[in-house]
């Protein structure tokens, strides 16, 4: 970040401006996130983002399994076989739980767009409900996979 921007670097007549142009802002910024207390709605929001980025990569896994399962009888059997391995089960569970979390937090977002849960208490309640529903969804998908 430059302290002064917009001054002409090549303007030799304006030495002062030239010097200032090259002065960088070296002042510290207090932004150590471990020292900041995040309320629950902020936690659900960052989880929404993390699950979204994770899903972006997870879609590749889903498409791979989908293609294999629709390709042929043998491919379908292969998918069922792969799904018996614990690491695969865990991966699919992570994707499914992430998807359901993203969906639930997304619905909360849409409700907020309608003006619901926009008070201080409403935000907290919304975040609590989101987390509880997400935990239930994650448990149910665990049951579905195992």
């Amino acid at each position: 970040m430059l302290l002064i921007t917009g001054t002409n670097r090549n303007n030799k007549n304006n030495l002062y401006a030239t010097v200032l142009y090259q002065v960088k802002d070296t002042r510290p910024v207090n932004l150590d996130l471990t020292t900041v207390k995040f309320p629950l709605p902020a936690i659900t929001s960052i989880l929404h983002r993390i699950s979204g980025v994770g899903l972006f990569l997870g879609i590749g896994v889903v498409l791979y399994f989908l293609q294999l399962s629709l390709e042929s009888e043998a491919g379908f059997e292969r998918v069922l076989e792969l799904l018996r391995a614990t690491p695969v089960k865990l991966t699919i569970w992570l994707i499914l739980a992430g998807l359901l979390y993203h969906l639930i937090a997304g619905v909360k977002h849409l409700l907020m767009d309608w003006g619901l849960g926009e008070s201080r208490e409403g935000a907290l309640r919304g975040a609590q409900v989101t987390l509880v529903l997400a935990i239930v969804a994650a448990a149910l998908s665990w049951g579905l996979i195992w």
């Binding site: 979204g52 879609i59 849409l110």
Partner: protein, 126 residues
């Protein structure tokens, strides 16, 4: 400033409102599709190749799948673009931020294109 130009150049819509509408509209489609697939999986206790294939060979499901795929592309682009312009900037990463974000955005575009073509092949190709 150079980084602003890059920010503008890689934001295809250039309007916050249209990004916002794309995000919401695609979200509703994706939510409906997710629930539909989950309902199929749960409602078919004897899931075998024939029945599974039959679901995806219906034209209505094919159409729903491809529409959802398009929604997915829009949804992920707006989301990933937002994430990139939050963390991968000159402000956060020093002078290399814009370059790193360009690499990241190229990767996102590439992966979205792969998903789109691959998905169309899966849903419509077979």
């Amino acid at each position: 400033m150079g980084s602003d130009m890059v920010t503008n150049a890689t934001n295809f819509s250039r309007s916050g409102l249209s990004d916002w509408i794309i995000q919401r509209f695609s979200a509703v489609i994706l939510a409906a599709y997710t629930l539909f697939i989950l309902a199929v999986l749960v409602s078919m206790p004897e899931l075998n190749y024939e029945s599974w294939r039959e679901v995806f060979s219906k034209n209505s499901v094919r159409l729903f799948s491809v529409i959802s795929l398009l929604a997915l592309c829009g949804h992920t682009w707006v989301g990933m673009w937002t994430v990139g312009t939050d963390y991968l900037t000159d402000r956060q990463l020093g002078g290399k931020g814009t370059f790193i974000r360009l690499i990241y955005q190229s990767f996102c575009v590439l992966l979205i294109a792969v998903y789109l073509l691959w998905g169309i092949q899966i849903f419509w190709g077979s």
